[in-house]
Symmetry: C2
Subunit: 336 residues, 2 copies
DNA sequence: CTGTTAGCGCGTTCAT
DNA sequence: ATGAACGCGCTAACAG
């Protein structure tokens, strides 16, 4: 076992080198207010010279704060979460925090393991995109008094903090846009039961009521997308479709490609997605979508969690809602 | 400060509850070989009943092993790294390891900070996708004796472990395929100076030598992709182009969309990318590409790092190369 | 098989 | 303004 992981240079050595006590070294490096500037400077110079790197485990063990957050999502390779992960990591870094990532695959057991591992790592807080059964994970975290903010979803009891998109409005904007494009036979391809899927469907349905003669159906497809092609083929054969609202941009792209493979003339079916991942990926998808700021989202998540960690907040759960807006691209424009 | 992050239940309490010493509890929970099965079972039952969660910081402080890895990449929101991150997280979990993520934005300063933070978190090892100046980060890690495996790139001295794709062969396959499609005026859109970009270009150039009359140019574009459109427009105006080999699928998609915006007839220019991100993202990009297994890549990275951590390996640096293959899709097929 | 002793590196508390 | 003593929770090394 050659690499013991232990730091080479410790405060003890800096103390020996400078003649001060370990305690004084500790204070100097943390910029405590009751030390002379000269002492601080000297100690820091020596620390730098020796290549001192703080041992966060020791500091965490003693202080009770680890400066680590957990990010628990279904699938970090999903571009939406990838973008979000980056924003979160950067916001966390601003607060001198580090981020551990877990994938749950939407599997309650893996989610549970992720939460336990996070607790075991003494994370100061958790950002959780819960699976359908995620309420259990939330209860576990709450039982351990660990601050937790939900990502984009909430549960019926609304007992946990959450940062959300205005899904209902997003769904409404999507439906309204498709109707304004002249579509009358609409299909929503939705994800399975969760709060954001429900609200998007609700807003979409509301838009439908505003135009007489508009017909719409809904199709629910298991993530991860495997079911889109067959479901869409079936729906398309049953009845004509001239507009699709998809739960996410990934669903929408799958739909576009499926229609292409089915030989449907481009421009026949207008499509709207959700998330606007393309604006950040340079993926160049010409897809109309419901945009929702991901930088603001990540920032809101981290800020809320930080407030919970520092404890300067009332104990009532907070659900913060971020606005959504329509972004028009080629997938709903007339093919000329 | 209401949440001290400290675990509620400690080994001490389990010891009190069971009548055993703290040490015996520790051994039982770690499944040490020198305890009676009965004792172990009893202790574990009590631990479970009390909801015990191990405190990994304390364990790490004492043992010198944190069971944490650092993953340092340019941009985790890049789908390639998103997919890789997921693979790595899952492989790490198999070894009871946890992954901390850092984004460097290809900025040497951020890269340096990431390495220092990782050291400070006592990670047992680092997986690093180095920036152009990343050799410095590697030296820092080596100076601290911290195991490190490079992701997809290496430096001239080859002094660090690395897992690589067979970039040279990938470039060759791409070039050969375009030539076989009948293209004779080729363009490679490459990323700035790094080992994988160079090797892809080398293989591509080799393919060009095999067909008399084939003409090819190379264009180098700064990541993150911003420059592709203008560079491509300029190149296209200068001279005719009937085939493009792009450094990555992201570059390729940007190129496709740019050509579309330029009003170039679809099918006029055949395009080959690199990475095959679409097979994993369900992104449904009909893009011919050089495929390179990402599951195998993640696994090789983690396995190699684990071997370094456990120390059962010779000290010579290892460069492991994974095969690449051609994946033909619509972007190089004849538009009928 | 089980208990005792010691200490990982640091922060807190109190004394000076 | 600085230092000494103590302990965070756990594991290593030994003793029995």
């Amino acid at each position: 076992m050659p690499n013991k992981g232990t730091q080479r240079v410790t405060m003890k050595e800096i103390a020996r080198e400078t003649g001060f006590s370990v305690n004084t070294v500790s204070k100097a490096l943390r910029d405590a207010p009751d030390l002379s500037g000269q002492t601080k400077r000297m100690i820091r110079d020596v620390a730098k010279r020796l290549g001192y790197v703080a041992n966060n485990m020791a500091s965490a063990l003693r202080s009770g704060y680890s400066s680590v957050l957990a990010l628990i999502v279904g699938d970090i390779s999903n571009p939406f979460f990838g973008i979000l992960c980056k924003e979160i990591e950067q916001q966390a870094a601003r607060h001198n925090y580090t981020v551990i990532v877990f994938n749950t695959e939407e599997d309650p057991e893996k989610e549970d393991r992720a939460v336990r591992t996070a607790l075991s790592q003494n994370v100061d807080g958790v950002l959780l995109a819960p699976s359908q059964n995620g309420a259990q994970a939330v209860r576990l975290l709450q039982a351990y008094g660990k601050p937790c903010v939900l990502i984009g979803r909430y549960f019926a009891d609304r007992a946990a903090d959450a940062v959300l998109y205005d899904d209902e409005n997003g769904g409404y904007l999507a439906g309204k846009h498709l109707l304004e494009c002249g579509c009358r036979n609409l299909l929503m391809i939705n994800a399975p039961h969760n709060s954001s899927a429900e609200n998007r469907a609700k807003g979409f349905a509301r838009a439908m009521t505003e135009v007489p003669g508009a017909k719409s159906r809904m199709l629910t497809v298991e993530s991860p997308l495997g079911g889109v092609p067959s479901a869409l083929r079936q729906a398309y054969e049953q009845e004509t479709i001239d507009g699709i609202f998809a739960y996410s941009d990934l669903f929408a792209m799958k739909a576009i490609w499926t229609l292409d493979e089915m030989g449907v003339e481009p421009g026949t079916v207008r499509i709207v997605g959700f998330d606007d991942i393309q604006s950040r990926l340079s993926l160049s998808m010409p897809l109309t979508t419901i945009g929702a700021g991901k930088a603001a989202f990540g920032q809101a998540l981290v800020e809320l969690l930080m407030k919970r960690i520092s404890g300067d907040m009332s104990d009532f759960p907070v659900q913060q809602v971020l606005p959504t807006k329509l972004v028009v691209r080629k997938s709903t424009r007339q093919e000329s």
